[in-house]
Every structure is written in C-alpha cells, then in structure tokens.
Amino acid sequence: MAIVTTPKKACAVNPLKMSQPIGGALAFMGLRGAMPLLHGSQGCTSFGLTLFVRHFKEAVPLQTTAMSEVAIVLGGYENVEQAILNIYNRTKPEIIGICSTGVTETNGDDVDAYIKLIREQHPQLAKFPLVFVSTPDFKDAFQNGWEKTVARIVEVLVEAPALEAERDPARVNVLPGCHLTPGDLDELRTILEDFGLKPSFLPDLAGSLDGHIPDEFTPTTIGGIGVDEVASMGQSSWTIAIGAQMRRAAEAMQAKTGVPFRLFERLCGLIPNDEFIAFLSEISGRPVPAKYRRQRGQLADAMLDAHFHIGGRKLAIGAEPDLLFDLSSMLHELGAQVTAAVTTTQSPVLERIGTKEVLIGDLEDLEELARTRDCDLLITHSHGRQAAARLKIPFYRAGFPMFDRIGAGHQLSVGYRGTRDAIFSIANLVIADRDENHQPTPDSWRASTPLRPGGRSFIDATERSIA
C-alpha cells in the first residue's frame, strides 16, 4: 500500500534514528552476566550509556575499547585485547559481547581475527563466550543492530542438537524485537506459561532491565538468559519470533537446530493476538484458559469505548519499522488515519503500513508533515517532545528512548491486556486534549469561519486523504 521514500536532505534535523552499535549493545544486555563492549572511541559508549540510563533508570553495564588517535593508526588489536582482559579479570562476566562502531569499521579492524588471536594468546579465554557483531554507525539503525546481534548470538552460542536428541514439546524459544519492553516480555512469559509452555527469551531484558533490586552489587547485567540456556535452545519444539526484524535470528535458529519458527509481525491489536493465542493453543494442545477469553472481551470493550475518540484522528507517527508497523496498524484498525509516517531504516513491513507514503527521515520531516497535514495525534519517542510542544497536539511516547517519563520499561503493548492498556492511554490523551484545548465556543459553530487547525471532521479528513 505505502510507498517508501527517502528525502534528499544533506542535513538530518532532530534525528529520529539512533546508531546500530547501541542497538546491538542492548541485545547483549538481555544475557545474564553480560558486559557489552563497543569497539570505538570512549564517546561512543558514553553517549549510549547515558541514553540507556535515562531510559531505563537503571545501572547499565557498557564498556569501551577507548580507541585513541594512536590506536587508530596502529589498529585496534591491543585495545580489544586489553579491554577483554580487563573486563574478564575485573568484572568476572559470563559473556562479553562486542560491537564495532564507525571509527573501527572505517579503519577496517578485523575483530573476528583479533578474537581468534586473543584466544590463542590467553588460554583462559579459549572457551570463554565472546561474540562479535559488525555494526558500523554509518549504516542502518538501532533496530538493525539488535537484529544482527541476536542472529549472531544464535549462530555462535546455540548448540546444534545431536541427531537422536529429543525435543522438549513444552519448550519454546521466544525471539522478541527491540520494540518490546521488559514489561511486554513479562506479559508474554505469563501468557506462555498459562498454556503450560516453558519459554526461553533471547534476549531477555525482563530479567536484566526490569528494575528489580539485586541482592548483591554486580557490574555486569543482573539477570537475563544464561549462556547455558541459550546453548540448549535447540531442544525447543518451536521458535516464536516477534517483529519482522527477528526473521533473521529465527532463520539462523532453524538452520542450526532445525527448530521451526513462526513469525508474529505484530502483537498489538485484536486480530494479531487472536492468531497468537490460537497458535499457542495449537502447539500446547491445551484449550485457551478462561482468563484470556475474559481479556479478549475486555479488549473488545476497550475498542468500543475508544473508537469514539480515536476514529478519524490524523496520526503522525515516527518510529523504527517494527514499532511503526505495530502501533500504526493497531490505531488504523481503530479508525485512525495514518497521515504522516516516518521511520529510520528499510524493512519489508513498511509497504504494508496503512498509509500512502512512509518516509525514511527525521523528526523535522515528521513535524513538517504533521503541520501541513493537520495531524492531531503525535506518536514517537521522547525526542518528539519539542515538536509536540510546537504543534500543540497530544503526544504519546512510544519506543526508545523515553527519558522524560518514568516507567518506560513497563509500558505494555502486547497481548489482549497490553493492547487494552495502550488504547486507554492513547484515548485518554485525546480526551484530555479536547477538554483542555478544544472546548466549543460560540465561534466554533459558525459555518463562515474556516476550520481552525486542530479542528477535525471525519469527512473533511477522508476527502483530504483521498485527494
């Protein structure tokens, strides 16, 4: 349906996009006892660290190879070696995950070869889990970094099961995209367990960045999936991938272990969850628990209550492809019109978004489109706050980063219940905005006065979107 375009601007203004290496680092943070390491200047790590800390409001493990000018000239081998040794000796991690950056990719550092050499030089590291992912800053976006890293973890850490090994019929692998929050993962875990399934989440941010208070101080991640559990994922009977970005990891899993996968591009909305629950019932061989029949009813009721407020709304949304597809489709299915859609990187789901055009651009583009097309609902991450203030329209924060509100890690959007809560939050913003800014006055009913910006009529909007 939608045409994907790229603007011909030389200068990105108010970036929507974040860089690949920190997307990769976040994926490593879903492993237990992990220390993500960015191979680049110390600033690459420092910026990412600040961003994660402000979003999750948690201590975040992230290290740097601290490349200096001289190190760049000489190549990064020594820095990678020293960094690994320092981390290994000081923080006693269970795994070190390494992502390259713009600097070291421009330089052409062959980190896989470095790792081989380091293992030879230091026998204590011979078997130690070290995973390297190539994530140059000057290509792709945050979501791609996550995608590549999870696929790489599968390739390196999952063990191919022996031929005669039996699969555990109750065990299921879940590969969540980076658009899901720790709260979403907890919700999915509950759903799967209610069907008697035993899920292994890779990565499992719900174990590490959900805010729980550990008994002991640890400089690495305080939870997440263990390397041993990752290794045994080949014994599962199914892999559930969530978000189109996870196809790569799911295929890698299938290629290595033969575990079949089912990809759910969306888990926000009634129909996607019907399919999801039906699938769980099918693979578990159990009827759907009464709880979910009730939750489905509650979601249906929420849709009935919310459609008055969301129907006809002109939505301006800026997000990474999978989140954009998920949220915009859910609102489209509630009668909203996706009037401006901006994203960060290419993805096969973009052309299926219910709109005419999807722009790979920045928040300046989104703000401009929202202004010229009279949008009256803005959805993007926290960096959209300036645009929202200028546009004076309701602003729902979604995605990463969300640094100016608390509870970012627990914002729900998956499952019947998560969809219901998301719908309530968005509809309430619209209601509050009408009460505060759009109370009728005698003038608002005069036919002669043109519709003020922000004034809305469904017919008017439809005509314009057709025009």
Binding site: K17, G43, V53, E69, F217
Partner: protein, 554 residues
C-alpha cells in the same frame, strides 16, 4: 589536522594550570590525563566535551559532522536553560552514510550548512568535527571558511574528534575555537565599567538566574556568559568586558587566561556553589572592577548585599541543624564541587564521611583539607562495589553524586541526591544552597526508606515454616539415633493430659493395674479418647507377672 595537534599541544602547555607548571617537559607532552584504559573507562570523549561547553549558546545552530551515533544518540540531553532562543536544542547532523565515507563528506557538510541557513537562518553555525570524518580527511576548516564567505555568516569549525582524548580536553578545544574564530569579532553596542564575563558557566537548570538578580542589583552587567544562556553576538563582543570570573575551575582556563593576555581582562577563579564561595566571588568581582576603574563605592554596596544574603541564607538553614544532627553524607563528585558544597553541608550540621577527589586539582585538595580538617577522608578512586558496600553497611546516611552512580545508592535503599549536570534543581548562589539543604532533608526523611529497608514479612513466614520443619526433622533424626527404648517409652498415649507410654507401663507394672479406671487413678491419663490405647497396653502386659509387683512383694 596539524592545527589540531598544535592546539592540543598548546592546551597541554597551559601556564595558567598549576598542575602543569610543576611538570617536566616530557611529562607535559604526554598530556593532562591518565592514559585511557580499554575496558575500564567511563567518560565522554573530546567531542562530547566540546559540545557540552558550547551547546548552551542558545541562538547558534550546532551542526555535528559525523555518522548518526554522535548526534543521534546524544542530542537534547543537557539541562541548560535558555531565556529565549531555542535553536540550540535542535539536533543538526550530516548523518554520514557509507557512500560519504568512501567519497568524502565535505560536499554533504557544505550542503547541510546551506540548508540550515535557508531554513533556520541562525546568527552563526558551529560545526563539530567527529572521529570518522577526521579519519577520512574531511577538512572542516576549509568547508567552514568557504561557507562563511559564500553565505556571509560566521560558520565556526570546532575541531574536536572524539578519539583525541577525554571530555575535559574537548572543553578546552571548544575554548580554543572561540578564541580563534569568535571572541573579538564584533563590538558591543555600548560598554559600562560594570561589564563582566562569566567563563565556564552553563546555566544548568537555569541556576545562573538565581545569581543574576544579585548582579543586577549591584548594577553589574554580564556582557557575555560562556556559555550558559549565551548569545553569539555576546561572546563575539566579550573582549570588551572589564573583568572575568572563571566559574568551572579548569574547564576553560585557556579562554580566561588568553583573554587576559590579549585584551587585558583580569580574571579570578570562583564559584557560586556554597554561601562562603558566593560571597567571595561577589567580593572579587567588585574588587577587580574597581581596580579597572569602576567607582569604589561598588565594594561597599557589594558588602551590604553579601551581609544581607548571608544572614538570610544562614537563617534559612538554621532550622535544619537539629534534624541533621548525627547524619553523615558521602560526596562523590569532581573538581570544584568536592569542596564548595562542603561548607554549606557542614554548616547545616551534616557530618561528611568522605569526598571524592578523583577529578580534583591539588588546590582543590588543599581547600578540602582546610574545610574538613587534616584527617579529611579523601577518596581517590572508589569502585561502585565499594560505594555500595559502604552504603549497605550504613557508613553514610546519604550520598550526593552525579547521575551515573545514582543506582549504586538507590539500589542499596539509601537516600541520594543529584548534584551534577542532569539534576533538576538549581543549587547556585545563596538560595541554591538553601535549596540543596531542603532537598537533602526531603531525601533523608522521605518515608520510603523505612518501608524499603523492612524485611519482607513473607520471607519471615517462610523462614518460620522452615524452622518448624527443621525442628521436626531434628526430632525425627533424634528418634532414629536415640536409644530405641527411651524413644518407645516417650510416645504419648494420652494427649489431653500428656501421659506417655513409659509412665503408664510403669504404673501398670508397679501397681498391677488391670483396668483403664485403675490406670486413670494412678496416672495423669484421662482415659477419654485414650481409653482404647490404654486397653491395648493393658492387654500387652501380662497381669500374672508384673515385675514391679514381684519386686514389691519380695
């Protein structure tokens, strides 16, 4: 790039820096900071430092020439405040892609400058160099020069690629760029004998505005603030100031010193953190201005304002003294703040159990000693694990630090207060110190701490259940290991009156009892629900030969 390394060398030779003056030539060449340790470093890069130092200029477009990471991951993340312009909060970046890396990014940079001028028309553009374009040889100086000429607008190159060093070096490189390209390029509309520059003040949370009313009252004009709530025109004409105050210790010492050298503007290092320091700073400003020709009555007026403000502040802090009695604070911060807030905290009655001196200079340390006494607990380098342990063991009641270490305190369920750049309260000047004390009080006495430190009751329940189970198991174990006869005899027969098998057997044997009724008379046994059991016992003991009876008969 040769100019960049020259600039860095010059910074390392800074004569205004006391630390530098004591070094040998070879040491000086190595630079100011310890070699960064791969895998053990936490801190910003040079580009980060340059941006921090300059971004508070509010009417300038700050364009970052590099891949998305440098700006995309970091924009709009500082708490500086603006009284008007907002373009400084707009993120501009060339977002270099693979093709640019191969063919060079200069053309894209030039076009980006053009786009910004067409769309936003700011009074000036600052272009920040980052690692990748520096590596591929993009000459931003040349592009900026060409763009300046073409568009008739200052386009200033800030040569600060992240790989050359840490944040602090970036502050200084930013200062060098201002000295080279900006300061002295315009003239102010008018000058007064009361014009001052503030150097190294970033107006975080708008805290400069807590001090400004005092300056206004004294008739002092901030000709230029570098860079909090600053405007391009102000800094360009800042060379006409009569005196300058260097606010953030060493960060921009090169700017202050070179302005003194070039334009004869005397400067002093001061701080508006802490009551004593605020007063000292105001006095020093007045003194320098009078020395440069301002009427001498300024000093008396300043003294009057200081006396009034100090009295007010101390009076406001006074009520907290009894509340803070016996409370201990741990201060983890760098540089100036390691000593400047110490006085206020002590005056409020807090005991300081330690202050970090990792980023402090020798002078800073001297000042700490002066304030906290010779045995001041100065912490050189404390790992998060150590801080956590210290708080967990309740060696301190509150920690004051920057945002990065906050979770160490919070996860130990210990009060914590942000006193670095991400904080949301302004602690500058006299009112700021009172605010700080207020915030400490709020943090210390918040009811959450008591709740969070309480042990979980269901852990207790579980533990009790466990103890019970263990006692039972122990008892069973004793049964197994103990003398079988004792165990057998200890078995309860009557549960109501607690009569055991041994007692009943003895009674039967010694008295030759034959009926439940008789047993009841001779023992505690009630003979109700245990009637059947007593009958069974009677049945097992032969009546004919009760050994006890025989004994008695003999």
């Amino acid at each position: 790039m040769s100019s960049l390394s020259a600039a860095i060398q010059e910074i390392f030779n800074e004569p205004g820096c006391a630390k530098n003056a004591n070094k040998s030539d070879a040491e000086r060449k190595k630079g100011c900071t310890k070699q960064l340790q791969p895998g053990g470093t936490a801190g910003g890069c040079t580009f980060d430092g340059a941006k921090i130092a300059l971004q508070p200029f509010t009417d300038v477009a700050h364009l970052v020439h590099g891949p998305i990471a440098c700006e995309g991951n970091s924009w709009d993340n500082r708490g500086a405040a603006s009284s008007g312009a907002s373009i400084w909060r707009t993120g501009f970046t060339t977002d270099l892609n693979e093709t640019d890396i191969v063919f060079g990014g200069e053309k894209r940079l030039y076009k980006a400058i053009k786009e910004i001028i067409n769309k936003y028309n700011p009074p000036a553009i600052f272009v920040y160099q980052t690692c990748v374009p520096a590596m591929i040889g993009d000459d931003i100086n040349a592009v900026c020069k060409a763009a300046s000429q073409k568009f008739g607008k200052p386009v200033i190159p800030i040569n600060s690629p992240g790989f050359v060093g840490p944040k602090n070096l970036g502050n200084k490189l930013a200062g060098e760029a201002l000295l080279e390209h900006v300061i002295g390029t315009q003239e102010p509309d008018y000058t007064t004998p009361y014009d001052i520059n503030l150097i190294g003040e970033y107006n975080l949370s708008g805290e400069l505005w807590q001090v400004k009313p005092l300056l206004d009252e004294l008739g002092l004009r901030i000709l230029s603030c570098i860079s909090g709530d600053g405007k391009y025109r102000q800094v360009a004409s800042s060379h006409r100031a009569r005196a300058a105050m260097l606010v953030c210790s060493k960060a921009m010492i090169n700017v202050a010193r070179k302005m003194e050298e070039r334009y004869g503007i005397p400067f002093f290092e001061g701080s508006f953190y802490g009551i004593q320091d605020s007063s000292d700073s105001l006095r020093e400003i007045a003194r320098l201005l009078v020395e440069r020709g301002a009427p001498s009555e300024l000093i008396e007026r300043t003294q009057a304002v200081i006396a009034r403000e100090e009295a007010r502040a101390w009076a406001a802090i006074e009520p907290y003294k009894p509340r803070f009695a016996g409370k201990r604070a741990l201060l983890i911060t760098g540089g100036v703040k390691s000593w400047s807030v110490v006085a206020a905290l002590q005056e409020a009655g807090l005991e300081l159990v330690g202050t970090s001196v990792k980023k402090s200079t020798k002078q800073d340390k001297e000042r700490i000693k002066k304030r906290m006494g010779q045995d001041a607990h100065m912490i050189e380098d404390m790992t998060p694990r150590e801080i956590y342990k210290m708080l967990k063991d309740a060696k301190a009641d509150i920690m004051l630090s920057g945002g990065k270490s906050q979770f160490v305190a919070l996860k130990a369920a210990m009060p914590w207060l942000d006193i670095n750049q991400e904080r949301c309260h302004a602690y500058m000047g006299y009112v700021g110190m009172v605010k700080l004390v207020e915030e400490i009080d709020k943090a210390l006495f918040n009811p959450i701490w008591e709740q969070l430190r309480r042990p979980v009751p269901w852990d207790e329940v579980a533990k009790n259940r466990q103890t019970k189970a263990i006692t039972q198991m122990d008892a069973q174990a004793a049964e197994i290991t103990g003398d079988p006869e004792t165990t057998r005899r200890a078995k309860k027969v009557c549960f109501c009156k607690e009569a055991d098998l041994g007692t009943i057997e003895d009674a039967i044997r010694s008295h030759g009892l034959t009926s439940v009724e008789a047993v009841r008379q001779h023992t505690n046994a009630f003979g109700g629900c245990c009637k059947r059991r007593i009958e069974d016992i009677l049945a097992t003991i032969p009546v004919s030969s009760p050994p006890a009876m025989q004994q008695a008969a003999e």
